[in-house]
Symmetry: C3
Subunit: 316 residues, 3 copies
């Protein structure tokens, strides 16, 4: 998430009660998670295991719970609880201010776009030209939608990430990580009925141009989907995952988080993808293998009784 | 379901045309299913197989299709068709009277609670403080929602149970069991987009405090979910099931009816839970086994060709 | 899809720029896909592999990309791109003209039918007597609903088919096949919350009388479901499939396209049906087998370690 305007690091430090270590004259351009962070951005880290990743990231500003040695081009903001500091920044610079109109005055609708009854469009939403938004669609704040997009009834664009910080030592068990990211839907995307596409936690969930989705599909936060993919009904994809171009996922496929499915891969129905898989191949199973290997396995299993008879000298 | 006020048993008997056997001077406090019934309540039974269970239950009043011997503290209401009698009572004491306003005048909204556009809230709904109810949420009659609850767009709270009485000897095949129960959502629960949570048939579906659910989740009638559970996207749980505290269900897990998942259990994605499983362990598979056993099984299957070669003296 | 009135074949030919080969004096009654086509209807074909099927179908008129020999009772409409010609006809005779009212003036609601707040009902929809349409249901143009039907909140009836024509040699990758079919819901059907039932591409999706569906179910285009079926939560059925009477599908079952499930079949939870299966049996697995065979397989897999020990002379 980028701030509307750059903010002095001292202003941020004051907001979160941080000690600043490093250059105090720089401007902060936004806040983001470690994999998506850019120069000028803030990240936060609260576990020594990830200190190194932060120091080596593009982030200019690091909210951290310990004063450590760091390169000259980084500035540390030291606080006791980086996660709480992150929430404070998000809630200050992108507070949840629910629009109480069906279609916000700050939403933009391109020429030729049809918005049917019962559609909710939040603040700062931008929808391109010649789209059809069917009844009962919900498009939440800050989402961007290209041209020639069709969204069928009941679908929700920009629901909050399913992302919690575990707090076992308190009366609160899971604390919600406020979502401040967006959903970007590129041109000629078509999305079926009653789907849900979560916004990024602090970056963007992206649906690439020409991708078509069937009904009742779930796409997690910060997932990036390539161009011209086809997803059949009830597919579910967790957060932070990358699906490259032309991938086909058949019905009820599940895909785990933060992995990559390579270009042109095809995954058969009801399969479960738990690790990254290479492009250009066909997969099946839960967890998936190459489909032709999985098919052989079914044949082998059927041969066990024959083996048993041969080895044990009798049928069971 | 409790009646608004206790009703003389003779009034109930007259309504359903029952012969009363036992104390005719008592008051009926409610009607409920056999597992949830309390002293003063009615139950119904139409198969000799379940007569004993009813006689040994807490129920004070039993609608039954045969005059049988029974303890002194029970009263029988004898009718030809107990199921029809049950429906008659429900339809009389809790008739379906759809509220035709977006937000019923009899709904209560606590301080600080935000209700966004396009939300439907039925009769006698009570929502606590500081909740956020996103666009297009449906909360049906009699549901109770605690404080600090977030419900995302398109979710339905209090849909009818999927519960039918089979009538093979008639022109009607399945007869709907009218739902008169509720959904109780405790404090700090968060529910994703496009979920559905069915009301209890005659008792309550409960979502325990601090539990967080992702999108497109289905929770069946009378299911009771503990505190601080985490359910990922597209999980489905059938009716009458108990999920204890801190259970984690990953994406697309399916859970069958009337079973128990013990405290702190973790079930990996796409697994199917068909019988009760103990707490404190990690599970995988459809049907589930302990995950480490299931993982070994995958390795064993891959060894079949080697066994075959050794035993048969040749590759296939 | 039938035209409102029969259209001279020369009018159609002019609309799509076709050369007519055969009888030019006949009237075209409708347009349909090859499996559903009737006398008087148009079909289209663009691959020689399917020329024969078209010539042997009931279709009177064939839009085709090559002049071929054909029987006297068929008329060819020859164009370079039959798919584009098909779209042109659909878009001319059944253009997408979104109704901008919550309930269209051309919709019909039978006596005793309750339509709750936030329901969208499109053009030419017909709903029978004594139905209950819960809040936030969407019923799109031309769908027909019988008597005593219950549709729970958030469900979408008549969403577009997930049906695309692949165009690899162009800047457009998948081209949407405009849906002009309907959904027909027969008497006493009950549909749960947040389901989606796609309309037929050019014919009808049918839900047979007395069938009951739980929540979050997806039914594809042109699928025909028999009478008195029971589908539990999160079942998904692809397009063009036939489910005969009294079929029971338990939770999260997936069914592939254009197959048949025979009468009285039962499919256990999370199973995947990829080919037609006979009626009267019980199935399990992904892909399904008869449940009792599948259960044996689980036992056999557990015996592999014993076989290994016997053959290899040692434990692993």
């Amino acid at each position: 998430m980028k701030f509307d305007n750059p903010v002095p690091v001292t202003t941020i430090a004051q907001l979160i009660g941080a000690e600043v270590s490093g250059n105090t004259h720089e401007m902060v351009t936004g806040i983001n998670e470690i994999h998506k962070v850019e120069k000028g951005d803030l990240v936060f880290v609260d576990h020594p295991k990830y200190y190194g990743t932060c120091l080596n990231s593009a982030a200019t500003f690091i909210i951290i719970n310990k004063k450590i040695d760091c390169p000259e081009n980084k500035t540390l903001l030291i606080v006791d609880e980086p996660f709480e500091a992150y929430l404070k920044i998000i809630n200050f610079y992108r507070p949840f201010t629910p629009s109480m109109k069906w279609i916000s005055d700050t939403a933009f609708l391109g020429e030729g776009t049809i918005v049917m009854p019962g559609v909710y469009i939040g603040d700062e939403v931008h929808i391109g030209k010649n789209c059809v938004i069917h009844p009962h669609v919900t498009i939440l704040d800050h989402c961007l939608i290209g041209d020639d997009v069709i969204i069928q009834s009941g679908t929700v664009i920009g629901s909050d990430a399913f992302y919690y910080n575990k707090k076992t030592n308190r009366d609160i068990h899971y604390k919600k990580m406020t979502s401040c990211g967006r959903v970007l839907i590129e041109n000629a995307v078509e999305i079926g009925a009653n789907c849900s596409i979560d916004r990024g936690v602090s970056h963007d969930t992206v649906i690439g141009a020409g991708t078509k989705m069937d009904n009742l599909i779930h796409i997690g936060h910060d997932t990036v989907i390539g161009k011209n993919c086809l997803f059949a009904g009830q597919v579910g994809i967790a957060g932070g995952t990358t699906i490259e171009d032309n991938v086909i996922l058949w019905g009820q496929v599940g895909v785990s988080k933060t992995l990559t499915i390579g270009k042109d891969a095809v995954v058969y129905a009801q399969s479960g993808v738990k690790d990254s898989i290479a492009g250009g191949k066909v997969y099946f199973g839960s967890p998936v293998e190459e489909a032709k290997e999985k098919m052989k396995e079914f044949v082998w299993i059927k041969r066990i009784p024959l083996l048993w008879e041969k080895v044990m000298g009798k049928k069971v």
